[in-house]
């Protein structure tokens, strides 16, 4: 645990990629395989089920430190992180032990899952009593299922590949599914992860997907000509769907459906995992809810996610489809090194040979030049897509956000915007725990809809919370205004006198009876502070509601796109 806590500390302390890489290599070069296996699991984003509930963690730690609950809350407010708060309030350890990570996990942490609260309390008291602050912190992160550290999986892959002297692609491939909760990390698995490459590498893939290739945002304003990308004919252009990125894997007569987060979601979408692809096929695509020949809003897909049992009513009401846009494995061969246009043509063959409604070949967008493409992009919203994907026709299928062997750009449509008033503020977390960084915004409601409100009496209704989009300097400025204009404090939240207007951008809007405003927006963020606007000049709820998508207005997606080459 000491080594792993030190690694965590090093990764947490530096923002430099090279520094993180060195720390990872230092750690993996000397730890035992069993510990390395668990470290890979956690660093790659593995989240074991929470062993002890937050409630018990709080209770036991306040008991051990002998402080009242209100004082714990004050500390939590100052720290902004539960595990860190607990690590600091506990009395100093009476002795220190050095038990390795794997033993901690397998002999001490996981068995607690089936223990009574009394036994758990006893165990925690003795564990806490043998660790210094930094190790306690990491321990609590591990048992609360909240472990997260600023390192990408790709960097872990890189560190291991440099240590093992293997191509990063091989490690990345072997690491797929590593965090699957069904398989416990072990020394054997770690040894296989870094073993020399075998001739039969591809046979060991089981149902594992390939590392996803991710797109980069294309930062050009709508007025600018995307000429920077050169000849438009060198680009394969598709719509960008707003669904769940996934790989459909078919091997040895069995199919698996993996989300981008490497969760196995085979059972969640039977109409997709039930598609019978030829053995040795892996298709990359997007899961959407598909109705009347076009994608439904993401809100509909959310009704399917997280549901373990699917009634036939749900399946009928929210039918899912897989929009296929890439072919990664063909006839049992990994074809990621083959260029985009060739993969596309093979994909087309595969999809066309299987005629099922749940499998849709991602249509290509055909435009003679960038200007006309830009005009087509403006129709994205009515097509219920997020914009466009531009893929170099000669791109290989990379790993993560690599750029070396070809690139994918996402050219998203501009967000919806509304000018709204800051009404509540809450403290941030982590790096910004001491500042007010999370804001609630409101628009004007002309009133008159409810019995109690006389018509014409305008009031502010909250509709969105946002916490990103400002620079540190702007946050400091807003923070100062919040402190000056506070009306009331409720725990970490302050209500403020309405004095500031912000331009809020968001990606989507849907009716929502659960929200006071009657609408919910998706991915709201602050675009800028509107110092030029008075509070009275902020936008109204009616303006917001006018942005709701009209389900009847949606153009049929397939009718107006260019035909595939």
């Amino acid at each position: 645990m000491r080594d792993f806590a030190r690694l965590y500390n090093e990764l947490d302390a530096t923002t430099a990629t090279l520094g993180k890489l060195e720390a990872l290599k230092r750690y993996f070069s000397h730890v035992e395989p069993a510990n390395a296996a668990w470290a890979v699991y956690f660093l790659a984003g593995g989240k074991p089920r929470q062993t002890i509930s937050t409630k018990f963690l709080r209770q036991f730690s306040t008991e051990m430190s002998g402080i009242p609950e209100w004082l714990f809350d004050e500390c939590y407010q100052a720290v902004g992180d539960l595990a860190e708060t607990i690590a600091h309030i506990l009395p100093p350890p009476s002795h220190e032990t050095s038990i390795p990570l794997a033993n901690w996990m397998e002999e001490r942490i996981i068995p607690l899952r089936n223990e009574t609260p009394e036994k758990t309390r006893e165990a925690l008291f003795s564990y806490w009593n043998e660790l210094e602050t930094q190790q306690r912190f990491v321990l609590i992160k591990l048992i609360s299922g909240a472990f997260r550290v600023g390192v990408s999986k790709l960097l872990v892959v890189r560190a291991l590949s440099e240590l093992a002297g293997l191509d990063a692609k091989i490690i990345a491939q072997r690491m797929m599914g590593w965090t699957d909760s069904a398989l416990q990390p072990s020394a054997e698995r770690y040894s296989l992860l870094i073993a020399a490459q075998s001739e039969f590498e591809h046979r060991n893939k089981d149902g594992h997907p390939y590392p996803f290739f991710l797109a980069h945002p294309l930062q050009i304003s709508p007025q600018a000509d995307p000429q920077v990308l050169g000849d438009i004919r060198q680009w394969q252009i598709e719509w960008k769907y707003d669904g769940i990125r996934a790989q459909l894997v078919q091997r040895n007569g069995q199919s698996w459906l993996w989300s981008r987060g490497e969760d196995l979601i085979t059972d969640r979408f039977p109409e997709i995992s039930g598609i019978s692809l030829p053995d040795g096929t892996v298709i990359d695509g997007e899961i959407v809810i598909w109705k009347n020949g076009s994608p439904a809003p993401f809100a509909d897909l959310q009704k399917r996610i997280g549901r373990k049992s699917l009634s036939s009513r749900i399946l009928n009401e929210f039918p899912a489809a897989f929009i296929a846009f890439d072919l990664l494995e063909h006839r049992g061969q990994d074809i990621r090194h083959i260029i985009q246009s060739e993969r596309r043509s093979r994909l087309k063959d595969v999809v066309c040979s299987i005629d099922v409604p749940g499998l849709i070949l991602s249509p290509l967008v055909d435009a003679p030049d960038w200007h006309r493409l830009g005009i087509m992009r403006n129709t994205s919203r009515s097509r219920a897509v997020e914009g466009m994907m531009l893929k170099s026709v000669s791109a290989q299928y990379g790993i993560g956000r690599t750029k070396e062997r070809g690139i994918w750009w996402k050219w998203k449509i501009d967000p919806y915007t509304v000018d709204a008033v800051l009404v509540y503020a809450q403290r941030g977390h982590g790096r910004r725990a001491s500042l007010y960084t999370d804001y609630t915004f409101a628009v004007w409601d002309s009133g008159g809809s409810g019995d109690s409100d006389p018509p014409g009496e305008r009031k502010l209704v909250p509709f969105a919370k946002a916490y990103s989009g400002l620079t540190d300097r702007e946050i400091a400025r807003v923070d100062a205004v919040i402190r000056r204009t506070t009306i009331e404090k409720f725990g970490p939240v302050r209500s403020v006198r309405p004095t500031m207007v912000f331009e809020i951008g968001f990606e989507g809007i849907a009716p929502s009876p659960r929200h006071k405003a009657g609408v919910a927006v998706r991915f709201p963020r602050m675009l800028r502070i509107r110092d030029d606007k008075k509070v009275d000049e902020a936008d109204t709820l009616d303006m917001l509601k006018a942005m709701l998508p009209n389900p009847y207005r949606k153009a049929a997606l397939t009718s107006s796109v260019g035909s595939p080459p």
């Binding site: 947490d12 520094g19 004050e74 600091h88 309030i89 790096r431 725990a433 001491s434």
Partner: protein
């Protein structure tokens, strides 16, 4: 509980009250660490948020005199040695070590058989650069609360100096300078006094060097330090420890040290959020203030039945002390009411220091 006796907003019988100019001793007709210009000011220590310019008469503890003069210029200053007393309008005034920085003092006031102590800033752990904190029994103790939350518990400074030595040595072996950001007055000298000066040369920013000279004159043992102009070659920088005020971060003054490793020494470095905000390679948790156990120990040791909290986590400390059967209340002061305001205060102090 014998609460403060309040009539029309004035604490009638209290020896010290909060006024808009600062803490005021009514019978004595003087202020303690006032933040607005007054006729008579008693100063606990020379940090900029306590010792402000513009008062007519100053009274302070003798060991802090030179620092006060160097920071405030030609002021009318009277001094008392620790433990020595003077009587002002019937109020007996004396200074007692607060263990915070060189010359820092608690102010003891005695009037008609009642004793009040104003702590100023204080720290309990002994420190080679100033006299150690002394417990002064009193009826009412006015305490600071900068780190008044149970999350704040310091490791021994000797451990922190060891960590600094390890970090410095490992950088020196790699041929990288070690830039250590810390406040120029107090923290810098404490670090100089505590580290292993055999690892390499020590270069001090001018802001800290001014204070080093005063400390040395006062007989405090500090290792030899160089200024940038003394350090002859760039090669010399590569094994150096560079003591720099926080405001020098990103300045041309630092650029000469090339690809250096940086660190920040402060009590605030205990929290991840603060460390990340600083964006330095290392955070060393070294504070010149009492931690939570220290505050509690100090308060208990005075034997005071009444405690007035200022400067920091006021509300938390007041509530905690009340729950522990003390008559506790708060003074509104102009030093922020929570840790971030205080941090901002510290930073502005540091800024001033580095420009002094």
């Amino acid at each position: 509980m014998a609460g403060p006796r309040r009539t029309w907003g004035v604490y009638m019988a209290d020896l010290v009250v909060a006024r808009k100019e600062g803490l005021f001793c009514e019978p004595g007709q003087f202020y303690i660490d006032p933040w607005q210009p007054v006729d008579r000011a008693i100063i606990t220590h020379a940090h900029a948020d306590h010792a402000r310019p513009g008062h007519t008469h100053y009274l302070a503890a003798l060991p802090g005199a030179d620092i006060l003069k160097s920071r405030l210029g030609d002021i009318q200053l009277e001094t008392l040695a620790y433990g020595e007393h003077v009587i002002h309008n019937g109020v007996t005034v004396s200074f007692h070590p607060a263990g915070h920085v060189l010359g820092s003092a608690q102010v003891r006031l005695e009037y008609r058989g009642e004793t009040w102590v104003v702590s100023g800033d204080y720290k309990l752990e002994p420190d080679g650069t100033c006299d150690s904190f002394e417990t002064v029994p009193c009826d009412t103790f006015i305490t600071e609360s900068t780190f008044g939350l149970p999350i704040y518990r310091w490791q021994a400074a000797s451990d922190i100096f060891k960590d600094i030595n390890v970090w410095w040595r490992s950088n020196a072996e790699k041929g990288r300078a070690s830039v250590l950001f810390c406040y120029a007055f107090g923290k810098a000298q404490r670090i100089l006094n505590g580290i292993d000066n055999s690892i390499g040369p020590i270069i001090c920013h001018g802001a800290a060097e001014t204070l080093n000279r005063i400390y040395r004159n006062a007989g405090i043992s500090l290792p030899d330090t160089l200024t940038v102009s003394d350090a002859s070659s760039k090669a010399g920088f590569r094994e150096a420890l560079v003591i720099a005020p926080p405001s020098s971060a990103g300045s041309p003054w630092l650029r000469r040290f090339g690809d250096y490793s940086d660190a920040f020494a402060s009590g605030w470095m205990l929290l991840r959020g603060a460390r990340r905000r600083r964006a330095v390679d290392r955070g060393f948790v070294l504070s010149d203030h009492a931690d939570w156990p220290g505050l509690m120990r100090a308060i208990t040791a005075t034997g005071a039945q009444r405690v007035i909290v200022t400067h920091g986590h006021v509300d938390v400390m007041v509530r905690w002390l009340r729950e522990n059967s003390l008559d506790a209340s708060a003074f509104e002061t102009e030093y922020g009411t929570n840790e971030e305001d205080n941090a901002a205060e510290n930073e502005s102090v540091a800024f001033k220091e580095s420009h002094a």
